[in-house]
C-alpha cells in the first residue's frame, strides 16, 4: 500500500519523527491502562475515592499525554502533507505548461483541472491520514502485545493468534468483494451514471416525447442499482465484519481466561484489569486502518496520476535554435514530417506570407497547426528554420514570435483592457485603445475597464475573436497562427470579423487553418490536406484549375449542380 510513499521528498525524517512519537504514545497507552487498573483495583479493595484521587490523576495525565502526542503527530503529518502536496501541484502545473495544449486536450481539460484541484487535496488527505495510521499499525500492536505477554502469557497468546486470523479473513473477504464488484463493474457503472445521463439528455428526451414516461425508467433503474449495490455491499461489509467479529471475540476470550485465572487465584486483579483494558487498544490501529478506506484509495490514486504526468517525457530542450526576428529572408521547411495522424508532410515557406491550410475535419489541419505552434514534436522527418534542423518547434525564439488565435480564444476574468494586454502586459492605455479600435472593438471603448470573462460581462463568439485580434494587433509579432477562427460564427459576423482581421495579416507569416473556403482568396499560398497528407498546394486560382481535392471542396460547399453559383462566379 505504501510502497510509493518513499518516493516523496523528505518523507524519511517525518516517518522517523512519527515513529518516535508513536513509541512514546505506546508507552503512554500502557501507562494509561495500568494506572486506570491500579485506581480501579484500589477502589475495589475498599479505599475511599479521595485516597485514590492521585492515582486517578496519574491515569488522567497519561491519557492527556497520549492524546497530546496524537495531536502533535497529526499536526506533523498535516504539515508535511500540506507541503508535499503543494510542491507536487506546483511541479505538475509547470509540467502541464511544458507538455502544452495538445496533451491537455488529449487528457481532457475537465479531468486535469479536477486532478489539480480535487486530486491535490485528496492526495493531501491520503498522506495525513495514512502516515500516522501506518506507523500506528507498525508500533502500537507490537508494543501492547509485548506488554500483555509479559503480564499474562495466556492473553498474549490469544491476541497473537487472533490478529493473523483476523487479517487473513479480512483480506480474503476484501478480495471476494472486489472480485464481485469487478465482475459487475461495467453494468454497475451504467446504472450509477443513468440518472446523470438522463438529466443531461433531458432536452433530447423531451423532443422525443419520452421525458414523461422516462420517470418510470428512472425509478426502475434506481431500484436495479439499489439491488446490485446491496449485493456488492453484503460482501464488501463482511470484511469489516470479520475484523469486528474477531477483535470482539478475542477481547471476550481474553476476559474469560482472565476471569478463570483470577478464580484459580493464579492471577491478581491489577494485571488482569490492565490486560483487559489493553486488549481493545491492541486492535484499535487495525480497525482505524479500515476507516476512511476510500479517502485513502482516492488520494493514492490521485498521487499516482500526478506522478505519471511528471514522468511524461519532456521536450528535448538541448537543441534550441537561435532566431532573429522573422524577416523576408527567413525560411521554414518541413521535410517528411510524421506525427500523430500526419504522414510525410513536406513544404517550405520563405519570408512573410499568408498560408491557408484547408481540408475536411480529420484531414490533419489542427495537427499541422500543433506542429507549427511547437506543441507536438515530429516522430520522424525534420523541421528546419533558417537551415537549423530540429525535431520540434518548442523553441523559445520561435514561440516568442508567435501569436495564436484559436476557435475559442482564451478570455480570462479581468478587464477588457487586461485581456487585450495579455501578450504585452506593459502596454499603455493608448496602445490598448488603438488595438481595440483596429480589431473593431471601437464601440467597446468605454468598456475597456469593464470586467469580462467568468463572472463578468458575457461575450459572444464574435466579440471573443475580436479580443483575440486586438491582442494580436497589440503584440505585433511577426508570425500568426489561426486555427478555425470563424467556423462557428454566423456569416455576417464572420464577414465583419474577416474585414477587421485581414489588416492583421499584413507583413506577417500567417498560417490559417480552416474549412471555410472564403478565406482562401486572401491567401498567398494554400496547403490542401486530406487524410493526414498534403494533397496539393498552390494559389486559389491554380488549385481551381487543377480540378483536384480543392476544387471538389469548393464544389461541395456550393452544391453540386448549381447554376446560379456559376453565374455569380462569372460575374465576380
Amino acid at each position: 500500500m505504501g510502497r510509493d510513499l518513499f518516493r516523496y521528498q523528505g518523507v524519511v525524517p517525518v516517518l522517523a519523527g512519527l515513529t518516535f512519537l508513536t513509541i512514546a504514545q505506546a508507552v503512554l497507552v500502557i501507562l494509561q491502562a495500568k494506572w486506570l487498573a491500579a485506581a480501579l483495583t484500589r477502589l475495589f479493595n475498599g479505599e475511599a475515592p479521595a485516597a485514590v484521587f492521585s492515582g486517578m490523576l496519574l491515569f488522567f495525565a497519561a491519557l492527556a499525554g497520549r492524546y497530546l502526542t496524537g495531536f502533535f503527530k497529526q499536526k506533523a503529518a498535516e504539515h508535511y502533507s500540506e507541503k508535499i502536496s503543494a510542491a507536487l501541484r506546483h511541479d505538475v502545473l509547470n509540467k502541464l505548461f511544458s507538455l502544452g495544449p495538445r496533451y491537455a486536450q488529449k487528457e481532457g481539460t475537465g479531468r486535469l483541472v479536477t486532478l489539480m484541484i480535487e486530486g491535490t487535496s485528496q492526495f493531501r488527505t491520503y498522506l495525513d491520514l495514512f502516515l500516522p495510521k501506518m506507523i500506528n499499525m507498525m508500533v502500537l500492536p507490537a508494543a501492547i502485545w509485548l506488554f500483555v505477554l509479559w503480564t499474562d502469557h495466556t492473553s498474549g497468546i490469544i491476541l497473537a493468534v487472533t490478529l493473523p486470523v483476523l487479517l487473513v479473513f479480512m483480506v480474503l473477504l476484501g478480495l471476494a468483494a472486489r472480485k464481485k464488484a469487478d465482475s459487475q463493474w461495467e453494468g454497475y457503472q451504467r446504472l450509477a451514471g443513468h440518472f446523470t445521463d438522463s438529466l443531461r439528455g433531458l432536452e433530447t428526451l423531451t423532443f422525443l416525447g419520452r421525458a414523461r414516461s422516462h420517470k418510470k425508467q428512472i425509478e426502475h433503474v434506481s431500484e436495479e442499482y439499489r439491488k446490485s449495490t446491496m449485493n456488492t455491499l453484503k460482501v464488501a461489509f463482511l470484511s469489516s465484519f470479520a475484523l469486528d467479529f474477531f477483535a470482539m471475540l478475542s477481547v471476550a476470550t481474553v476476559a474469560v481466561f482472565l476471569g478463570l485465572g483470577l478464580v484459580d487465584g493464579k492471577m491478581a486483579l491489577l494485571p488482569a484489569l490492565t490486560v483487559l483494558i489493553l486488549a481493545p487498544e491492541y486492535f484499535l490501529p487495525v480497525r482505524e486502518l479500515g476507516t476512511d478506506y476510500h479517502a485513502t484509495l482516492n488520494g493514492q490514486e490521485a498521487g499516482r496520476a500526478m506522478q505519471e504526468i511528471l514522468e511524461k517525457p519532456d521536450w528535448d530542450l538541448e537543441n534550441q535554435f537561435k532566431l532573429q526576428t522573422w524577416s523576408d529572408e527567413a525560411t521554414l521547411s518541413l521535410s517528411k514530417v510524421e506525427a500523430a495522424s500526419l504522414k510525410k508532410i513536406s513544404f517550405s515557406v520563405k519570408g512573410r506570407k499568408k498560408i491557408g491550410i484547408i481540408g475536411t475535419s480529420g484531414a490533419g489541419k489542427s495537427t499541422l497547426i500543433d506542429i507549427l505552434g511547437g506543441f507536438l514534436a515530429a516522430d520522424s522527418g525534420t523541421i528546419s528554420v533558417n537551415g537549423q534542423t530540429v525535431s520540434h518547434l518548442h523553441q523559445a525564439d520561435w514561440q516568442n514570435q508567435l501569436t495564436y488565435i484559436p476557435q475559442h480564444p482564451y478570455i480570462f476574468g479581468g478587464t477588457l483592457a487586461d485581456n487585450i494586454r495579455f501578450y504585452k502586459p506593459d502596454a499603455s492605455n493608448e496602445e490598448v485603445r488603438k488595438a481595440a479600435e483596429k480589431a473593431g472593438l471601437a464601440s467597446f471603448e468605454d468598456l475597456l475597464e469593464t470586467e469580462i470573462g467568468e463572472g463578468g460581462r458575457r461575450l459572444s463568439g464574435g466579440q471573443m475573436q475580436r479580443i483575440a485580434a486586438a491582442r494580436a494587433f497589440l503584440a505585433d509579432r511577426p508570425i500568426l497562427l489561426l486555427d478555425e477562427p470563424t467556423a462557428h460564427l454566423d456569416i455576417e459576423t464572420e464577414a465583419a470579423l474577416k474585414e477587421s482581421m485581414l489588416p492583421l495579416f499584413d507583413d506577417k507569416l500567417v498560417f490559417l487553418a480552416t474549412h471555410r473556403l472564403h478565406w482562401m482568396k486572401e491567401m498567398d499560398w494554400i496547403i490542401v490536406m486530406e487524410h493526414g497528407q498534403i494533397a496539393e498546394t498552390g494559389t486559389h486560382t491554380e488549385l481551381l484549375l487543377k480540378n483536384g481535392v480543392y476544387a471538389s471542396l469548393v464544389q461541395a460547399a456550393r452544391g453540386d449542380t448549381h447554376e446560379l453559383a456559376h453565374s455569380i462566379l462569372k460575374r465576380a
Binding site: 475498599g46 475515592p49 475537465g110 438529466l199 433531458l202 470482539m248 471476550a252 475535419s361
Partner: protein
C-alpha cells in the same frame, strides 16, 4: 429541509430499525466492557464455584458477537434505506426539472443536480443516522443511570450533552463560514484553471506561464490557509473531547468508588461502570467532525430547493383552431427571455403541410426560440402558436421531431439509442432506419454491432455520425413535422453537404423547418425566411432572394467563398 425530513417519515420503520441497530451496536460494545469488568471483578472476589461467573462469561461472548453482527446489519440496512431515499429524490428532482428544461443552457448544468443528490447521501449516513442513534443511547443510558443516582445521571447527562449537541453545533457554526469561503474560492480556482488549461497556447506563446503559476499558487495558498485553520480547529477540538472523555471516566470512578465505599453498590461494579465510558464516548466523538460538513450539505439542499421552486405554473391549453392545411402558424407572437431584450415582436409566420422552409438570420435573432415555441417548451407572452391547428400540448412529440446541434446520445447501446424514437419499434425497424441514414454498414462493422455501448456522451462517434444516429431516431418517431435546429454547425462543408442530402432524402414529404446560419443547400428549399430584430426581413425562394435582396446575395457570396 423538505428534501431531508419527508423521506425519513416515509420510511419510518426502516429508519427506526437503523437507529435501533445503531444504538444496539453502541450498547453491545458498552455491555461487552461492562460485563468483562464485572466478570473480572467477580472472579477477583474468588467465588467458590465456577458457575458463579458462568453467566458473565456467556454474556461477554454474546455481547462481543452481538456488536459485530448488529454493526454489520446496521450498515447494510442504512445503505439500503439511503438508496431507497435516493431513488425517491431522483424521481422528485426529475419531475421538478422536466417542465423547465429550456431554462438550462447545457446538459452539464442539469447533470450537476445529480451530484447534489449523491452528496445528500452522506448527510444521512454520516450525520443523521449516527446522531439519532447517539441521542437514543444518550437518553437510554442517562435514564438507566437515573435508577442508580439522579445527581450522577445529571452530571453524566451534562457530559453527554457536550459530546452530542454542544460541540457538534459549535463545530458546525465555526466551520460554516470557513467552508463557505473555501467553496467560493474553489469555484473561482476551478474556472480559472479550466480557462488556463484551455488557453494554454496563449500562455505559452506570451511567455508568461511563470507569472500564472505564481499567481495561482498565491490563490491556492489562501485556500490552504483556511484549510489548515479548519484542520487545526478540528485537531484541537478532538483533543479537548478526548480530555473531556477522560474527565468523564474519572468522574465515574469517583462516583462508583464513593457508592461502593458507602455500601450502596457492590465493589465489583466499579470497574464495570468505569469501563463502559470508553465505548460510549468513542461513539460520540465522530459526531462533531460529521457536523462540520453541514455547510456543504446545506448548499446542495439549497440548490435542490430552488430547482423545485422555479417550477412554472401549469399551462392550461384552450383549444384554438386555425386555418386548415397549415402545419405551423405563428400569429402576432411576442416573446422575450427578459424584459429588456425582446426576441420576437409581433412575429407572423406560417408553414403549409409538406413545405420545406429555411429559417436564416444572425445568432441571437430568435431562430431557436421559434423551435422552442413550437415545441411548447416556452409560451409566448402574447399571440398564438399553432401546430396543426392547435396549441402545442403534451403530445407534441407525435407531431414535431427536433434534430438540434447536439443531440444527446445516451450511455446505452446504439440499438436502444435509436429505438428511443419509438419504443415499440422492432429490431428490424431500427435497422431499417439506420440503413436509411447510411449508418448500418458502419454500425455492423463495430465489434458489438448494434449492441455497441456509447461511451461518455457518445464520444465514440464523430459529429456527423452522431447526427445520423439522431436522425435515425427521428425517423422512428414518424412525425409529420421536423425542425432542424442548426444540426450542421461545426461540420466541414463536405460532411455538412452529405448530411443535409441524407436529411432531405429521408424526410421527403414532411414539413421541414431548417434553422441555420449557413447558406449551403438553400436551393433545395421551397422557401427561405430571414429573421432579424425579431421579425421576418426577407421571405421567398432562394432564387427570388438571390435576385432581389442585396443582403441575401452578399451573404450567399460570402458563404460560397466567392466574394
Amino acid at each position: 429541509m423538505n428534501w431531508l425530513i419527508p423521506y425519513l417519515k416515509e420510511h419510518k420503520r426502516l429508519l427506526a430499525a437503523v437507529i435501533l441497530l445503531g444504538s444496539l451496536t453502541i450498547f453491545a460494545a458498552s455491555a461487552l466492557l461492562f460485563s468483562s469488568g464485572y466478570l473480572i471483578s467477580k472472579a477477583a472476589s474468588r467465588p467458590e464455584n465456577l458457575l458463579m461467573i458462568y453467566v458473565p462469561i456467556v454474556l461477554v461472548r454474546t455481547f462481543g458477537i452481538m456488536r459485530s453482527v448488529s454493526s454489520y446489519v446496521e450498515r447494510l440496512m442504512s445503505h439500503s434505506l439511503i438508496l431507497k431515499i435516493v431513488s425517491r429524490m431522483r424521481v422528485r428532482l426529475y419531475e421538478a426539472i422536466r417542465p423547465q428544461v429550456s431554462r438550462f443552457k447545457t446538459g452539464d448544468a442539469l447533470g450537476l443536480f445529480a451530484d447534489d443528490i449523491e452528496h445528500l447521501q452522506d448527510v444521512y449516513i454520516k450525520l443523521i443516522f449516527p446522531w439519532l442513534s447517539a441521542l437514543c443511547v444518550y437518553a437510554l443510558s442517562i435514564t438507566a443511570l437515573g435508577f442508580f443516582s439522579v445527581s450522577f445521571a445529571l452530571v453524566m447527562g451534562l457530559y453527554f450533552f457536550v459530546f452530542t449537541v454542544l460541540v457538534p453545533l459549535a463545530s458546525l457554526l465555526v466551520m460554516k463560514a470557513k467552508q463557505m469561503k473555501q467553496k467560493e474560492q474553489r469555484a473561482a480556482q476551478y474556472s480559472r484553471l479550466a480557462d488556463t488549461v484551455m488557453g494554454m497556447g496563449d500562455w505559452v506563446f506570451s511567455g508568461r506561464e511563470k507569472a500564472f503559476v505564481a499567481s495561482y499558487e498565491q490563490a491556492e495558498k489562501e485556500w490552504t490557509r483556511l484549510e489548515s485553520s479548519k484542520r487545526s480547529f478540528a485537531r484541537g477540538r478532538d483533543l479537548c473531547l478526548q480530555l473531556l472523555a477522560g474527565a468523564a471516566v474519572v468522574t465515574t470512578m469517583i462516583w462508583a468508588g464513593g457508592q461502593s465505599a458507602d455500601g450502596q453498590m457492590a465493589p465489583i461494579l466499579i470497574a464495570a461502570f468505569t469501563l463502559v465510558l470508553f465505548p460510549i464516548t468513542e461513539a460520540f466523538l465522530p459526531l462533531s467532525s460529521a457536523a462540520e460538513e453541514w455547510a456543504g450539505y446545506s448548499q446542495s439542499l439549497g440548490r435542490l430547493q430552488t430547482a423545485e421552486k422555479e417550477k412554472p405554473a401549469a399551462h392550461f391549453i384552450q383549444p384554438v383552431f386555425g386555418d386548415d392545411g397549415l402545419a405551423l402558424q405563428f400569429r402576432r407572437v411576442s416573446f422575450s427571455y427578459n424584459e429588456s431584450e425582446p426576441v420576437l415582436q409581433h412575429f407572423n409566420f406560417s408553414a403549409r403541410a409538406g413545405e420545406k422552409i429555411a429559417v436564416l438570420g444572425p445568432s441571437g435573432a430568435g431562430k431557436s426560440t421559434i423551435m422552442q415555441l413550437a415545441e411548447g417548451l416556452v409560451s409566448p407572452q402574447s399571440g398564438t402558436v399553432l401546430v396543426n391547428g392547435h396549441e402545442p400540448d403534451e403530445y407534441i412529440s407525435r407531431e414535431i421531431a427536433v434534430l438540434n446541434q447536439q443531440p444527446y446520445l445516451f450511455n446505452t447501446t446504439v440499438m436502444n439509442n435509436i429505438r428511443l424514437g419509438n419504443p415499440r419499434a422492432t429490431d428490424e425497424e431500427v435497422i431499417e432506419a439506420a440503413k436509411k441514414v447510411h449508418m448500418h454498414d458502419y454500425i455492423q462493422s463495430l465489434p458489438d454491432g448494434y449492441q455497441t455501448v456509447m461511451q461518455e456522451t457518445g464520444s465514440r462517434f464523430s459529429g456527423g455520425e452522431r447526427q445520423r444516429i439522431a436522425l435515425a431516431r427521428i425517423l422512428l418517431q414518424q412525425t409529420p413535422i421536423v425542425i432542424l435546429d442548426e444540426p450542421t454547425v461545426g461540420l466541414d462543408p463536405i460532411t455538412e453537404r452529405r448530411l443535409i442530402e441524407t436529411v432531405f432524402d429521408v424526410l421527403e414529404g414532411k414539413t421541414i423547418l431548417w434553422i441555420t446560419h449557413h447558406l449551403a443547400g438553400m436551393e433545395q428549399m421551397d422557401r427561405i425566411v430571414f429573421l432579424d430584430g425579431g421579425q421576418i426581413q426577407m421571405d421567398g425562394t432562394h432564387e427570388e432572394l438571390v435576385q432581389q435582396e442585396l443582403r441575401y446575395q452578399k451573404l450567399y457570396e460570402l458563404d460560397m467563398g466567392i466574394s
